[in-house]
Symmetry: C2
Subunit: 336 residues, 2 copies
């Protein structure tokens, strides 16, 4: 690899002058700038970020640790948002995935430390509560889509309660009065909070208990989450005969659509369907198109980097960690 000194030699100036040109520092004669730039182009010189870091003690790298996140399509958007923001701010993201078999967060954190990351973002697949060791206090650290069990980190999560409340209210507002909520695994915070929002809306409208029903579409068997949306949907719809179904995720809504098609019910007329996620093409591929609460993952990713940067500039001073709840947006289509 060609170094700054080789460039200097070819350009016939001192290597410090080359450094000035490379870093766009002022005070270099135009003819020298030209000579240097020619030499750089000719030799194909690229500054060595590592050497620069050693001297400057500034890596411009932010670590991104995720629990499986980058394989789950729903929350890939977090990564994308973080990456876009990081790039805009002249930072580079270093991405690590937890090994699902031996999930060792600390090991990855160590890796980030060795690369002299300036901060760490930890992203989770589902909105949940996660335990962190003291090690995570080393650098400015922000949690996305999860909170710490001791609430001792700045976190960015979707406002699932508000989302549950809002979509339920919309259902009620449009006149639906017998609603089945096919919720996610209740161990997940998202499920709990949405349920609270759901209940709050029910209460405000004074809907009696017999007119709604909550079931879970995920079962945890030996640590693995099993999707039972199919059977549950069929059973709930046939037994309870709701006039609207609220699904915990778009994938479950597919299942509901299929059941309803088979029963000959017209979605959006005979029965309403709503959901959470707004996952890629799914809501638009369904017919009628699915109305769903979009989870603001992309925005959350951006916010995470923004928060990290703010922590860095404030020198991570131990003020109270902040907990951000990002509102979700209803994509109002045709299914209710």
């Amino acid at each position: 690899m060609v170094t700054i000194k080789q460039v200097a030699e070819l350009a016939g100036v001192s290597f410090k002058t080359v450094a000035r040109v490379v870093n766009k520092e002022p005070g270099v004669k135009a003819y020298n700038v030209e000579k240097v730039e020619d030499a750089i182009a000719k030799l194909g010189y690229r500054p060595n970020k590592a050497a620069s870091l050693v001297r400057k003690k500034q890596s411009d790298v932010i670590g991104f640790i995720s629990d499986e996140i980058s394989t789950t399509p729903a929350s890939v958007a977090i990564l994308k948002g973080a990456q876009d923001m990081a790039w805009e701010q002249g930072k580079t993201l270093m991405v690590f995935n937890l090994d699902p078999k031996r999930p060792n967060k600390d090991k990855l954190y160590e890796e980030c430390l060795q690369h002299r990351s300036e901060g760490i973002i930890y992203g989770a697949m589902y909105h949940q509560s996660v335990e962190f060791s003291e090690l995570f206090k080393t650098l400015p650290t922000v949690l996305v889509n999860c909170v710490s069990t001791h609430n001792d980190f700045t976190s960015i999560v979707p406002d699932d309660e508000l989302a549950g409340y809002y979509v339920t209210k919309q259902l009620l507002y449009k006149g639906y009065r017998r609603i089945a909520f096919l919720n996610l695994n209740p161990e997940i915070m998202a499920a709990q909070q949405r349920q609270q929002g759901f209940l709050k809306a029910m209460q405000e409208y004074g809907i009696p208990e017999k007119q709604w029903r909550i079931d879970t579409i995920e079962q945890v068997v030996e640590g693995r989450t099993v999707n039972i949306a199919g059977e549950v949907a069929k059973q709930v719809i046939q037994e309870f005969k709701p006039d609207a179904v609220l699904c915990g995720k778009d994938l479950a809504a597919i299942k509901v659509y299929l059941v309803l098609e088979r029963l000959g019910l017209t979605i959006g007329k005979d029965i309403g369907v709503a959901s959470f996620d707004n996952w890629h093409d799914i809501p638009e591929i369904l017919e009628p198109q699915l109305s769903t609460m979009a989870l603001p993952y992309y925005e959350m990713g951006r916010m995470a980097v923004a928060q990290i940067l703010s922590l860095i500039t404030n020198n991570n001073k131990a003020e109270q960690p902040t907990h951000y709840k990002v509102p979700c947006l209803l994509f109002d289509r045709k299914s209710f």
Copy 2:
């Protein structure tokens, strides 16, 4: 940040001895090892990878550049595979996404060069042909899910022709004789090659032209790809009345399922459905479960890193680039 010298001072040895302990070099007295390890623990020392790189000229970093890949769920698995393999081999992946608005591959390549990446993986969203500048010849470079327009890079792609051939043969073998192929955008290599495989199988079985039909479920309007699976599926099924439908992707299969449910046809009995992708939970959430050709993205990601490592150790010597076609696996479920 604490340095090796501070550790040496506390341990009462020279900093070179500390370096030996850190790098597990032999020839340090046991009592010194202990003193050093104590000091390291007490001070929380972590080796500075950047400083190490400057001296050793070995970054252990592999660059991963993708065109939108990490936002498209189908191929996120590539990234995961690459990351797993990299981690196993003691390498770190540095991930960059192309900005879809201003897709400047070279800029990201430059970034990797500045970090002294040892090699670059370029991953594409769809199996396609991509043009690369000379810059990409700088480091050992491997393409995943795409090939270069001049075939001048080692590439790893799914064997889409074989996949198309195989799944079609399976359909024919099971007795289906009137098959509609709802193919992806024909500009994409995946679509072209699957079509070749499809036709080859048709020919081998001597199926006359009138008994099959190929339509496209994606339209390119002003650079944007628009999904028209819905209308096409409905139209083809009603007009052509196939006894089997082969879908270009699982998402399109959802659409086909919905159409068939409405028409009262029983999938797997009245009509067969097959697809490509094996995308997350979708094939299993459908009923009957969808038989689909799984694209070997995870494996391709792993292979990419393996190839990079082999190129690195062979010093990237300009032998002919190799083109790997990875076979796809049929997940044989219940839909045909």
